[in-house]
């Protein structure tokens, strides 16, 4: 097993896009961890460091300067927002992917292992959830729960587990007939034991790849909800929200179409690179693991 992993790691590091993704990810992790040092919150802001400090009362965006290296948008310091927004992005990605993957794993494995009517019921419930387009479902649920990042995350979790459930169910159904599972059953290993110790480890890899790809897209969905006025509260360090501030300014001023470029470029770049990082890693892992996998 060890050897296998080593071989895969080697393959991974031979793949330039994979390495590039990993470097990006490490960079974002560092920014997220050291956010309080890179962009220290003002004393009055200590108790809610995720709120971007207000630096002016004028609604006009202000170009990058010494005090505000990324400029000012919607009266707030973009640099601060981009740095702390890294934490927000990780939080959205990790929590939503983590929880919805766990739910998916749970439902998928139960469904596949037991089969019969349990499978039937669980899969019909999955069908119902799958029958509402994800974005629309997220919009409806977020509106009903009220605005706020936590609400956005709940909505994305509630409507985000079905893919994993189906994937894991299919994989387990295949693996169930394999010799080692039958053998484990024969020597009397308990059901949860079989699922956790034998079935999951052999089917989890595709799930993880799928999860890594979703990490990025969730940040985008959150940004879209921001656009509809359903995302993070105003002033919260969130890339989507900062991008949303720019929507009214991006056509520029008269005669200067690109006058307010910084309102888009900095948060936009952060977002693109973040999504890119996860995708490149996911892509590369998939290529290594099994190039035929279509996720």
């Amino acid at each position: 097993m060890d050897k296998e992993y080593k071989r895969m790691l080697k393959k991974f590091f031979k793949n330039p896009s994979g390495v590039f993704g990993l470097v990006l990810l490490i960079f974002f992790t560092i920014v997220a961890i050291f956010a309080p040092i890179i962009a220290p919150p003002q004393p009055s802001n200590q108790y809610e460091p995720y709120m971007m400090p207000i630096v002016t009362w004028s609604p006009d965006p202000q170009p990058p300067s010494k005090e505000h290296p990324f400029g000012v948008s919607e009266r707030r310091d973009i640099f601060y927002g981009v740095v702390w927004g890294t934490r927000t992005a990780f939080r959205i990605g990790l929590i939503v992917t983590g929880v919805s993957t766990l739910i998916g794993l749970f439902i998928g494995s139960i469904s596949a292992y037991y089969g019969g009517w349990i499978d039937e019921i669980l899969m019909r419930i999955t069908d119902i959830f799958l029958s509402i387009p994800f974005l629309i479902a997220a919009i409806v649920l977020t509106t009903l729960l009220g605005t706020g990042l936590d609400k956005v995350m709940i909505a994305m979790i509630v409507f985000g587990w079905m893919g994993t459930a189906r994937l894991i169910r299919g994989n387990i159904l295949q693996a169930k007939e394999e010799q080692y599972v039958l053998a484990a059953k024969a020597i009397g290993v308990s059901t949860p034991g079989i699922i956790i110790r034998h079935l999951l480890p052999n089917t989890i890899f595709p799930v993880l790849i799928q999860a890594s790809m979703r990490m990025g897209s969730l940040v985008i969905t959150a940004a879209i909800l921001s656009f509809l006025g359903l995302g993070a509260p105003q002033g919260y360090s969130d890339w989507g929200a900062i991008l949303n501030y720019a929507r009214n300014w991006m056509l520029g001023a008269h005669g200067e179409a690109l006058k307010y470029w910084y309102t888009i470029v900095f948060p936009g770049t952060a977002m693109v690179l973040f999504v890119l990082a996860w995708n490149l890693i996911g892509d590369t892992l998939r290529d290594i693991f099994d190039p035929r996998l279509r996720i």
Binding site: Q234, R247, H254, G255
Partner: protein
């Protein structure tokens, strides 16, 4: 493959080859909101009002830019008799409705009676009820007259219960019908008491006083004019009104289409208009919600008029071919008011105690707290920077231009030292020691309100690190719901005049039965019903009630000023600003003029000259 490229080239040519230019007889008005209804007796918003203004006509109209002088419209002249209790309007002859009907005095009588009977909840008809009968709704009037709630007189099917049938019939025969009568060529209104703003309530722009064609209205299914059926036509749902999506007025424009899918209203000039037909033959009022999109359309010349939010003004300033008019007077104010008795289970007051983790429910009952808040707001920055100068300070919630306004009344200035002093005095110094935590809400999308809340937070948190104010945006339904129910410790809210009279503002904000006064808690009600020395032993409520019945403008002025002084002395609320209007259109549009009481545009006055 080559075929593909040929087709592609052909397509590209086709796409770029055709472009059609606009013409000087068509006008496109790019705006944001969409009408609510075309029924004049239900419409209460400016978007609906704008269409009704151009399609229907009233008896009288404001003279040009004035809000106090009137000119004849469907009435040729009028007389005010009985010391202001009787109004007589002589009806113009030879006027035709769009669908061909002739205007008669009976049409006028019917129009007002239909409105009074309809009186939809949340609609504008309360104004005519208040003016004619002194009570602001039909149902209130019925209950007051017979002592039985209206809802008890009607069964589930909307039919009058037999025992009350005669009484309900008499509501029409004995009260509504005699109040508005036809006398030869004239229509006479009988008011129960003199009511100063009556003319304003009738003037063009007040859609609730628009004149319908009686025969047509009955034909399409409005009230049939009979005394024993009216309750079936009372308070019907908006979409059930036969006039919901159709219009037949005497105005310079005909309603061609209300395309609710595209938020577009199309008007066409009425060639049989009793004055000269309009110069602009076709008007399209188009709701484009996204600012960037609206702006792009306007800059390309695909729109002649454009709604521009003040904060984006800098984006289009300097572009040639665009006319920008700034600082137009409006009759409205925006103010922050305190809730003196917050509901104890509110989630916006933290712990609900004076322990640094919340505020007690009666936080704002302490005068020092209110004063401290009043001192901690940067009024100038708000007006100059946030509103880009499109605002004006007012001493209390009464806009300039109305009786009672006096720029010399005392005002709170932005002074953090004084704010600190007041905070130190509050709750016997305990507040300063322990600190507090509370939440201010604003409705998302309203950036002026948001900034105002953030500004208070910004300055108050600077005073003492133990002071914490959380500013949060919510959807407007939530905003309305929470402040109405008394969960919000303080709320920022604006008021746009229904008619240009101080009563419309003072009552709303400061009387404990006013829409906003009501939401300021029991302690506030106690305060305004307690006699005050400064008012000569009268209560604030009393003075407000007496002021509207007073006919002498000088005395009214004095009475409202005394209200203003009480507002200052006890810091009853923070009048943040009176917004000033902004108008942006292409410079080829000629003939525009401003009237603050007019909903939207008067297309009849315009022409396009390239």
């Amino acid at each position: 493959m080559r075929k593909f490229w040929v087709i592609l080239a052909l397509m590209a040519f086709a796409v770029f080859g055709f472009a059609v230019k606009g013409d000087p007889t068509t006008l496109v008005d790019l705006t944001i909101s969409e009408p609510d209804t075309m029924d004049p007796h239900y419409a209460y918003d400016t978007a609906s009002g704008e269409v009704i203004y151009n399609v229907y006509e009233n008896l009288i109209a404001y003279k040009g830019e004035s809000v106090t002088e009137f000119v004849p419209r469907l009435a040729t002249k009028w007389e005010i008799l009985d010391g202001g209790k009787t109004y007589k309007f002589y009806i113009r002859k030879g006027v035709k409705f769009h669908l061909g009907g002739d205007l008669t005095p009976e049409d006028v009588e019917y129009s007002f009676e239909r409105g009074l009977i309809f009186d939809p909840a949340g609609g504008p008809m309360w104004m005519l009820w208040e003016a004619l009968f002194g009570i602001d709704s039909l149902e209130g009037f019925v209950e007051e007259t017979f002592g039985v709630p209206y809802s008890d007189m009607i069964d589930e099917n909307g039919e009058a219960k037999p025992e009350y049938r005669d009484k309900l019939i008499s509501v029409y025969t004995d009260y509504i019908d005699p109040a508005i009568e036809v006398e030869g060529d004239a229509v006479v209104f009988h008011l129960v008491r003199p009511f100063a703003p009556f003319m304003s309530i009738l003037a063009q722009g007040s859609s609730w006083s628009a004149i319908l064609d009686k025969e047509w209205a009955i034909e399409v299914g409005c009230w049939d004019g009979k005394a024993d059926t009216w309750w079936k036509y009372h308070d019907i749902q908006k979409e059930e009104s036969p006039l919901y999506a159709v219009a037949n007025g005497t105005g310079p424009y005909k309603l061609v289409e209300w395309d609710r899918t595209q938020q577009k209203v199309t008007l066409e000039a009425n060639e049989n208009y009793w004055r000269e037909p309009a110069k602009i033959k076709k008007v399209v009022i188009w709701g484009v919600d996204e600012w960037a999109t609206r702006r792009a359309l306007f800059e390309k010349g695909d729109g002649d008029i454009c709604y521009v939010p003040a904060q984006f003004l800098s984006q289009i300033e300097g572009k040639e071919g665009i006319e920008i008019i700034k600082g137009l007077p409006t009759i409205s104010v925006t103010a922050l008011h305190f809730n003196w008795s917050v509901k104890p289970d509110s989630k916006y007051i933290g712990s609900g105690k004076l322990d640094g983790e919340g505020i007690p429910p009666d936080f704002f009952s302490d005068e020092h707290v209110r004063k401290a808040f009043s001192y901690a707001f940067n009024y100038d920055a708000m007006i100059l920077q946030v509103l880009r100068g499109l605002g004006k300070r007012v001493p209390y919630a009464l806009p300039e231009g109305l009786i009672g306004y006096n720029p010399d009344l005392p005002m709170y200035e932005f002074n953090l030292l004084k704010a600190r002093e007041e905070f130190k005095k509050a709750f016997n110094g305990q507040l300063w020691e322990k600190g507090f935590k509370m939440t201010l809400l604003y409705n998302t999308g309203n950036s002026a309100r948001q900034t105002a809340a953030e500004m208070l937070k910004f300055y108050i948190e600077q005073l003492n690190p133990k002071f914490k104010i959380e500013v949060r945006g919510v959807q407007w339904p939530t905003y309305l719901d929470t402040y109405r129910k008394g969960y919000l410790p303080a709320f920022i809210i604006g008021w746009l005049a229904d008619y240009p009279d101080p009563h419309n503002f003072i009552f709303t904000y400061y009387h404990s039965n006013g829409v906003y006064g009501h939401s300021q808690g029991e302690n506030y009600e106690k305060f305004v019903t307690t006699p005050l020395e400064e008012l000569g032993g009268k209560t604030l409520n009393q003075v407000i009630e007496e002021a509207v019945a007073e006919t002498d403008p000088a005395k009214r002025q004095e009475m409202y000023e005394s209200v203003g002084r009480v507002v200052y002395n006890h810091a009853l609320g923070m009048a943040l600003y009176q917004p000033l209007g902004l108008r942006v259109h292409r410079s080829w549009l000629k003939g525009w003029y401003h009237n603050p009481m007019r909903p939207g545009d008067d297309y009849y006055a315009y022409s396009i000259e390239f």
